[in-house]
C-alpha cells in the first residue's frame, strides 16, 4: 500500500482494500523504523484516532477529496495545539494556538496529519543541514543531503513515510528537494495558496505547495490548498481550477521553451536527462523552441538581497519577550535581545539577518535593495516576453544530483548556487514544477517546468503526461533499517 500513489490509495480506501487506520499505522511503523533519516520533528499524537474517525465517515458515505489520507506538514505551518518550530531552537518550545490556512484546508478536505517534518531553520537553506534538529538524510544515499529547505517533507515522501507532504518554496525549497529525492513538487503562483499561519521567511517570495510521488497527486492536493484567503492580503482572487480535470489533456501543439541561458554550460549528465525528457515530451506532441531570459544570471544576487532584507524584519519578532526562546537571567533589555537571539538562531539565519539589515541600512538601500527590486522587475519582464510564445519553460531543477552532507557547509555561496534554476520563478512569482526524470550516479535528477501566472493546470498536465510515459516517479529508495 505504501507504493501506491495518493490517488490510488484513495481508490483503495473507497474499495475497502485497506482502512485509513491500517494505512496510517503502516506509515507510523515506517517512521519509527526509519528515524535515522530524521525526516520528522514530531509525530501527531491523535492521528490514529483521526484515522478511525475517517474510516467511520467513509463507511457512513462521506466523500471528502482527501478523506483518511495521512499527510506530513513541513514544520513551518502552524497547527493549533501542536509544537511548530520552523527548524529553530528559537521555537523549540512554541505551541501554536492557531491553524495555518493550509493545514485547516487540508484537514477540511479529510486529510490526516501524521506529524511535522524537519526543515532548514526558518526555511533558509538548500540542504536541510541548518535545522536545529539535525540534518535530514537523503533516503537514496544516506550520506547525501535531501535538499532544502523542505528536506524533511521530500525525504518523507521519497521514503514512503507519508502519502504526500506540504512544503514551502522561497527560492526552490519545494522543487530542489523534490529533485534530490526523486519525487514531484510544485511551487504555485505567488498568491495562489494562503500564507496565513506559514512562518515567514521572505514574505514576497514564500509560497506553499505540495510534494508527492506524482503530478496527479500534486493536482489533487493543490486543488484543496489553493484559494483566496481574507487573512492574507497577498492571496489572489483568481478562480481556483480543479487541476485534476486537465491532467489527461493532449499535449499536441503545446509549446515548450528551452532557455538558452539555462542550457549553456550544463553538466553533461544533466544535459542527457533534459534531452531524454525533451524526447518523451516531443513524442507526446509538444513543440520545443529556444527562448532567452537575458536577466536570469542576475537572479541569485537579487534574491540574496531581497530575501535576507525581508527576513531581517520578519525575524525581529523573535526577541525573547512574548514567546519562544529566552536567555537565562538577562541583565537588561539589550542583553535579553542579544542573548535570546544569538543563543537560539543558527549561523545561516544570522548570516541572512546581517546581510538583510545591511542591504536596508541608510546609504546602502538604493545600491542594494532598490537595485535588486529593479532586477526583479526585469526578470519578470523577461518571462512575460517568453510566455507570449510558449506555454512552459523546461530546464533542469538543479545543477546536479544531491551532494554529500557537509560538502558545502563552509561555502555558503556554493550552496546558494544550488538555487540557480529555481530562484527566478520565485522572483517573478511564477508557478514551477519539478518532476523526477532520471538518475545520475544512482541519485535522482529532476527537470523543472515553469509556467505562466496561475497556469498550474498546464504544468500538472505536462507532468502527468510525462509520468504516463516514464516510471522515474515510481522508483523508491531501498531503505536499510
Amino acid at each position: 500500500m505504501i507504493n501506491r500513489s495518493l490517488s490510488q490509495q484513495l481508490d483503495d480506501l473507497s474499495k475497502g482494500e485497506y482502512s485509513s487506520v491500517e494505512l496510517t499505522q503502516t506509515y507510523l511503523d515506517r517512521i519509527e523504523n526509519h528515524q535515522s533519516l530524521n525526516a520528522y520533528v514530531s509525530i501527531s499524537k491523535d492521528v490514529l484516532e483521526k484515522a478511525r474517525q475517517a474510516d467511520q465517515l467513509r463507511a457512513a458515505g462521506e466523500r471528502k477529496p482527501l478523506l483518511g489520507i495521512p499527510l506530513a506538514h513541513k514544520d513551518i505551518f502552524c497547527e493549533a495545539g501542536v509544537r511548530t518550530t520552523a527548524g529553530s531552537k528559537m521555537l523549540d518550545n512554541f505551541i501554536s494556538p492557531y491553524d495555518s490556512t493550509v493545514v485547516s484546508l487540508l484537514r477540511n478536505a479529510g486529510a490526516l496529519s501524521l506529524g511535522k517534518t524537519n526543515m532548514d531553520e526558518f526555511a533558509m537553506g538548500s540542504s536541510n543541514e541548518s535545522s536545529y534538529f539535525g540534518a535530514v538524510k537523503n533516503p537514496w544515499q544516506v550520506d547525501r543531503v535531501p535538499g532544502g529547505s523542505s528536506g524533511g517533507s521530500a525525504a518523507a515522501v521519497a521514503a514512503r513515510l507519508c502519502a504526500a507532504a506540504t512544503g514551502t518554496d522561497t527560492g526552490g525549497s519545494i522543487r530542489q528537494p523534490a529533485a534530490f529525492c526523486g519525487i514531484t513538487g510544485i511551487k504555485p503562483t505567488y498568491g495562489r495558496v494562503s500564507r496565513w499561519g506559514m512562518i515567514a521567511y521572505a514574505s514576497s517570495l514564500d509560497q506553499a505547495g505540495p510534494l508527492a510521488t506524482t503530478a496527479e497527486d500534486c493536482a489533487l492536493l493543490l486543488s484543496a490548498m489553493a484559494g483566496a484567503d481574507e487573512k492574507d492580503s497577498t492571496s489572489s482572487a483568481v478562480q481556483v481550477e480543479d487541476y485534476s480535470k486537465f491532467l489527461s489533456q493532449d499535449l499536441k501543439g503545446k509549446k515548450i521553451g528551452l532557455c538558452v541561458e539555462y542550457m549553456e554550460g550544463l553538466d553533461p549528465e544533466m544535459s542527457r536527462v533534459i534531452e531524454e525528457a525533451i524526447e518523451v515530451l516531443s513524442k507526446l506532441g509538444a513543440e520545443f523552441m529556444d527562448i532567452s531570459l537575458p536577466t536570469s544570471p542576475l537572479a541569485i544576487p537579487a534574491y540574496y538581497i531581497i530575501a535576507p532584507a525581508e527576513c531581517s524584519a520578519n525575524l525581529s519578532r523573535y526577541d525573547g519577550v512574548r514567546f519562544g526562546y529566552r536567555c537565562e537571567n538577562p541583565e537588561n533589555l539589550e542583553d535579553l535581545y542579544k542573548r535570546s537571539r544569538s543563543e537560539s538562531f543558527g549561523q545561516e539565519v544570522k548570516n541572512r539577518i546581517m546581510v538583510g539589515a545591511f542591504a536596508l541600512s541608510a546609504g546602502y538601500y538604493d545600491a542594494y535593495y532598490k537595485k535588486a527590486q529593479q532586477i526583479r522587475r526585469l526578470i519578470k519582464n523577461d518571462f512575460l516576453e517568453a510566455f507570449k510564445s510558449v506555454d512552459a519553460i523546461l530546464g533542469p531543477t538543479t545543477p546536479g544530483p544531491a551532494f554529500k552532507i557537509g560538502a558545502n557547509a563552509d561555502e555558503p555561496q556554493a550552496m546558494y548556487l544550488q538555487d540557480i534554476y529555481t530562484i527566478s520563478a520565485n522572483l517573478a512569482g511564477l508557478p514551477a514544477i519539478s518532476l523526477p526524470a532520471g538518475f545520475i550516479e544512482d541519485l535522482p535528477a529532476g527537470i523543472q517546468l515553469i509556467g505562466n501566472y496561475f497556469d498550474e493546470a498546464t504544468l500538472l498536465n505536462l507532468g502527468h503526461q510525462f509520468q504516463a510515459q516514464t516510471d522515474w516517479h515510481k522508483k523508491a529508495p531501498e531503505l536499510s533499517t
Partner: protein, 480 residues
C-alpha cells in the same frame, strides 16, 4: 528672554482614528480594557500571522486631507520601520514612508490679536500605534500591555511655521477641531487620542538657516504643550546665550516638575531601515472614492464660522465661539432652524447654555436643555408669551429637570405674560391713582420716575407684564 532670538516650531500630531477595530487585526480598539484583553495572535506578532488593512481608515484619512486642501495619494502603500522595543511586538512598525496618504495642505489659525496665520502641513500618514510599557507595579520588571498595539493613527506633520508656544497651541487646537468635526478621531486627549511631538529651535532674528532642534515627545494636553514649548525656549535661550550648543535630541515633558529632559540622543538613534511592507499590496485610491468621501463631509469649521458671520449676521466673536465645536455648532443651527432668530439664539446659546454647561461640567451632547427646548423658549419670547426675564426662569426649570416641555411649564406655572391693554390698563390706572406725588413729578419733567411706575406694575403682575407695553401705557396715561 533676550529679544534677539526667533522661535521656530513644527508639530507632529498623532491622531488616533475612531475606528471600531484595529488597523491590521480584527481586535477591538476600545480604550481602557484590562491589559492584553484586546490583543490577538496578530497583535502579539505570533509566527505566521499577516496584517489585513481595516478599510475604515481610508475615508477618515482622506477626509482630513480634503479638510486641509491637501493632495490625496493615488496609491496607498505601507512600509516597515524597523526597531526593537518590547511594546512593538513585530520588531517593526507598519507605517507610510514614501507614499503618505495626505500630501501638503494648510490650516488657518487665529492669533491672540484676532489676525489669521496660515500653517502649512507637510504630510499626514497612516500607521499603527505601539503597545504600552508599564514600569510601575512589577518590581524591577516591565509589564507590556498590547491593547493599544495596532490602533490606527494618522500622523500629521507640520512645516516649521509656528513662532511661539501660543501659535503652536492654536495650531494644535485647530487640528483637534478639524479631526473631531470630521469624525476622524474622538479627540479625547485624556485617552491619548491626540498627542503632540513639538520640534523647537531658536535662530537669530533675520537668519535664514534653522537652529538645531529638539523634539519633545508625547505631550497630551494643550496646557502641557504650551508649558513644554515655553520651557524649551527658555532653556535653549540660556544655552545659546551662555555660548553653548543645542544638542539634537528627543526630550520628554514632565508635567509634575514642569520641565523637559532628554530621552535619547538622535545622534545614536536607530537606522530604521525602512522598506516596502511585502505583506500588504498597494491600495489604489481613485477619484470616485475621493469624491464619495468629499460628499459625505460636513461643513468645515472655517466655512461655518464665515457663514455664521456673513449670512446670519453674528459678530466675529460669536461666529468663532459657536463654530468651535461641531456639537455646539449643530446645537446652535438646530435652534436657529426652529426659531429663525440667529442673534437671539446666539445670545442664549453663548450665554445661559454655555454658562450652564461650563458650570456643571457637562458636554453639549448631554445638555439638559435640548436645542428644541432652547428654540421653544426663544419662540415664546418672540411671540410675546413670556418676557426675557421669565424665559430665564423657564430655562432654569428645564435645566434642573423640573419639566421637559417649555409650553406646559409656562401654562402650569402661570407665566404667560400679561399683555393687551384690557388687562394692564386697570392696573396702571390704579397705581397712578395711588401715587399722585410721583405722577406730578413725571408731568413736571422728572421722567426718571417712570422706572418707579414700571417697577410697581411688574411687582403687581409678578413679572409677567410685557415691559415694553407697560412702558408705553404708563407714558400715555401720565401724559393724558
Amino acid at each position: 528672554m533676550s529679544g534677539e532670538w526667533e522661535v521656530v516650531i513644527g508639530l507632529e500630531i498623532h491622531v488616533q482614528l475612531s475606528t471600531i477595530s484595529k488597523i491590521f487585526s480584527g481586535s477591538s480598539a476600545t480604550f481602557g480594557a484590562e491589559p492584553n484583553t484586546q490583543a490577538s495572535a496578530l497583535d502579539l506578532a505570533l509566527p505566521g500571522v499577516l496584517p489585513v488593512v481595516n478599510e475604515a481608515i481610508y475615508p477618515k484619512a482622506i477626509a482630513f486631507g480634503l479638510g486641509i486642501g491637501a493632495n490625496i495619494g493615488a496609491r496607498s502603500c505601507f512600509d516597515r520601520k524597523n526597531y526593537f522595543y518590547p511594546d512593538l511586538p513585530k520588531g517593526y512598525q507598519i507605517t507610510q514612508m514614501d507614499e503618505p496618504i495626505v500630501l501638503g495642505g494648510e490650516v488657518e489659525i487665529t492669533l491672540a490679536d484676532g489676525t489669521a496665520k496660515t500653517i502649512r502641513v507637510t504630510r499626514a500618514h497612516l500607521e499603527e500605534d505601539a503597545g504600552k510599557s508599564l514600569h510601575e507595579d512589577f518590581h524591577g520588571m516591565t509589564g507590556i500591555d498590547l491593547n493599544r498595539a495596532g490602533t490606527p493613527l494618522l500622523e500629521i506633520v507640520s512645516e516649521p511655521d509656528m513662532r511661539s508656544a501660543e501659535e503652536a497651541v492654536s495650531y494644535a487646537k485647530t487640528i483637534h477641531q478639524l479631526v473631531t468635526y470630521l469624525s476622524v478621531s474622538d479627540g479625547d486627549m485624556s485617552q491619548g487620542s491626540l498627542r503632540c511631538d513639538a520640534n523647537v529651535s531658536l535662530r537669530k532674528k533675520g537668519a535664514d538657516a534653522y537652529g538645531t532642534r529638539t523634539e519633545t515627545k508625547n505631550v497630551n494636553s494643550f496646557r502641557f504643550l504650551e508649558a513644554a514649548i515655553k520651557y524649551e525656549v527658555v532653556r535653549q535661550t540660556e544655552v545659546l546665550e551662555s555660548g553653548g550648543k543645542i544638542t539634537q535630541e528627543t526630550r520628554l515633558y514632565d508635567p509634575d516638575k514642569d520641565e523637559t529632559r532628554p530621552m535619547r540622543s538622535k545622534e545614536t538613534a536607530t537606522d530604521y531601515r525602512y522598506f516596502p511592507e511585502p505583506d500588504l499590496l498597494p491600495v489604489i485610491i481613485d477619484d470616485a472614492f475621493i469624491a464619495k468621501v468629499r460628499d459625505s463631509m460636513p461643513e468645515l469649521p472655517a466655512q461655518k464660522r464665515a457663514r455664521f458671520h456673513t449670512e446670519m449676521g453674528l459678530t466675529d466673536e460669536d461666529s468663532r465661539v459657536l463654530s468651535s465645536e461641531l456639537g455646539l455648532a449643530t446645537y446652535f443651527e438646530d435652534c436657529v432652524n426652529i426659531c429663525s432668530d440667529p442673534i437671539m439664539a446666539a445670545n442664549w446659546v453663548k450665554g445661559d447654555l454655555l454658562g450652564g454647561l461650563n458650570r456643571d461640567n457637562i458636554e453639549i451632547s448631554d445638555s439638559p436643555v435640548t436645542a428644541q427646548a432652547m428654540a421653544a423658549i426663544i419662540v415664546r419670547i418672540q411671540d410675546g408669551t413670556i418676557s426675557g426675564k421669565i424665559a430665564k426662569n423657564v430655562f432654569n426649570a428645564v435645566w434642573e429637570g423640573k419639566t421637559d416641555s417649555v409650553d406646559d411649564y409656562i401654562q402650569s406655572e402661570g407665566l404667560v405674560q400679561v399683555s393687551g391693554s384690557h388687562e394692564l390698563e386697570p392696573i396702571v390706572d390704579r397705581i397712578i391713582a395711588n401715587n399722585p406725588k410721583q405722577a406730578e413729578q413725571f408731568r413736571s419733567g422728572k421722567t426718571k420716575v417712570l422706572g418707579f411706575f414700571v417697577g410697581q406694575v411688574m411687582k403687581e403682575t409678578a413679572g409677567k407684564a410685557n415691559p415694553k407695553q407697560v412702558n408705553d401705557l404708563i407714558i400715555s396715561k401720565l401724559n393724558d
